[in-house]
Symmetry: C2
């Protein structure tokens, strides 16, 4: 490659900056491309149903560490993180297409184990494997999964539809996946220093499972449908609450007010965070990989779902002038940084 | 990873064997999955149009060598090889979704150059970029492209429909891409031994362009549609004629008789092959990456297209008992090996 040309480091832009830079003046050519670059998945209108399509590339050493990631879990996760993107459009995944690149260090049994996890996820989420391709890699493992799904016209949800006074909701609990990663990294470090010491993973089951084998929130999408609630905006939490609420507010041209005391945590997350001297709130805001759904609903619609344990109201949408605010339990207000978890090393779109 | 478990080397299966092994008992769950694993692309019925979807993962050092591959060409090729898969179903590509993993050695300008090639291909083939994702890589470049397209019911073409006496046709000419690769590898070797020697690429323009910047045969699909010919089977030539005709015959439960003297070559391919002491026929059979279309048509349909210069009849379909035969100009018959280009290092499905 040429050496003398102008060189801008990718780190100067960050991941979102790079995507924006590369796609900012793209124009769609087909009316079928209802939603392209700039959301969790593409929405394609090919007739009386909409097609939802999304794709994610996971690289060894960046998105997963085979020191502590069982291959079956990895396969499972590679599927669910994609399905999560389809659900985040209020769509229903139907098919996946898999591409895997493998170095010679992998055996058939190991690839089978990976596929076992992929197939388990497909069974659990009622999804077909509609294509599979394996190829070689010089260096480790790369997995790309494309998820395709369907949605009905009028029910797809983008990041851009939030309106002032909408209630901001989140499913499940946050920060656990990040705490699970901290436990795994700590035990890896101890193991590297002395391979005789057995990893201490007992009592960390929930946070570790959230990191290694996350689920996609089909139940939430089905529940919203049953109650006939279509969110005004929605996104899945892959990069952390701070980054995701920023996507919603920026794309909707709005501000927000989140209340720290309403952000849901599992007891184990709080316990592990205490051990590690990490604020649980920081894990929720910047940790990522929770794969919960963050969405906004009209106040009237919120009444229809307020009794559901798995959905929590954590704030509301404001005018853009007010910016992105997080209210602490003592009433003080913290401005949420717009960058979110803005690292090239973290996955997200 | 565990060391004591049974270990079967991937090389024992070969690429097709691995895919077969991993997918042999897959069952589709949705009637929309008209065509899943086992063809060039997936066909999904979501309404009154069929969706065609395909995905390919290209890894640095396996599928491309950045020593002699300009990034713009690489981007272009990453798109066209996917579109080729859509055309091979008799479909029309409409959108692509891109995932790119990059190591720190890449600059913004280089990624832009890659994207420039991607966008040029999208313009030329009238395709939308419906999703784009970049992430980090520990080691070099990985590109995954998913292509989505549409097809009408009754016009999709699988590998499995060939009938006895069908005429076997191929578009364009074969073997050029493989000869281009040989030229590039030769010049790379010379350059590695003495960087002062300038690569000698003049007079090799056609074969090098076929390797670095292949086109997908939209013209052939459009032409067949104009003449109202629906092939009985079709595949694109990514792994070599031998491998592809084997896919068609195996999936159709048939045999074939190909005539060596009818296989089309460009003059430059024959010239370069002579220089390199390679049989042009071997380049066509086992070289791959020509991205031409190989298809079968009913004898009556062949009459409708026999005047077209870009399509050549190279043989006909026989009973399975006769096997796969290649007739030499002197009348002797060579059995085509069933394995084709059966290397993990070569792309294909």
């Amino acid at each position: 490659m040429n050496k003398k040309e102008k060189r801008t480091e990718l780190s100067e832009l960050g991941e979102f900056g790079l995507i924006d830079h590369l796609t900012k003046d793209l124009k769609n050519r087909h009316k079928e491309t209802v939603k392209g670059v700039g959301d969790d998945a593409a929405i394609l209108d090919y007739g009386n149903k909409l097609v939802v399509a999304t794709s994610d590339l996971l690289m060894e050493g960046i998105h997963f560490d085979l020191m502590y990631t069982p291959l079956k879990h990895l396969g499972y996760k590679a599927v669910t993180v994609n399905l999560s993107d389809v659900y985040a459009m209020n769509g229903y995944p139907r098919q996946i297409i898999i591409s895997i690149a493998l170095s010679a260090k992998f055996s058939l049994e190991q690839v089978e184990e990976l596929y076992r996890g992929i197939r388990l996820a497909c069974e659990r989420y009622n999804v077909d494997i509609a294509g599979g391709d394996t190829t070689s890699s010089m260096t480790g493992l790369a997995i790309n999964i494309t998820a395709l799904g369907e949605a009905s016209e009028g029910s797809t949800v983008f990041r851009s539809g939030a309106v002032k006074n909408d209630i901001i909701c989140v499913s499940g609990d946050l920060g656990a996946s990040y705490m699970g990663l901290q436990v795994l990294e700590r035990e890896k470090k101890i193991f590297m220093e002395d391979p005789e010491i057995k990893p201490l993973l007992e009592g960390y089951d929930y946070v570790i499972e959230r990191q290694l084998k996350p689920e996609a929130r089909r139940d939430v999408i089905e529940f919203l449908s049953e109650r006939e609630v279509v969110p005004t905006s929605m996104i899945d939490i892959s990069d952390g609450l701070s980054s995701e609420i920023n996507h919603i507010c920026t794309n909707s041209g709005k501000g927000c007010r989140l209340f720290a005391e309403h952000i849901p945590f599992d007891n184990e997350t709080v316990k592990v965070a205490g051990e590690m001297n990490i604020e649980p709130l920081m894990a929720a805001l910047n940790g990522g990989e929770d794969y919960e759904l963050l969405f906004t609903v009209r106040p009237d619609d919120y009444k229809k779902i307020s009794d559901v344990a798995v959905i929590k109201a954590i704030g509301h949408i404001t005018t853009p002038e007010e910016g992105l605010n997080l209210v602490s339990p003592d009433g003080s207000v913290i401005k949420l940084s717009s960058g979110g978890w803005n690292s090239m090393g973290k996955k997200g779109k």
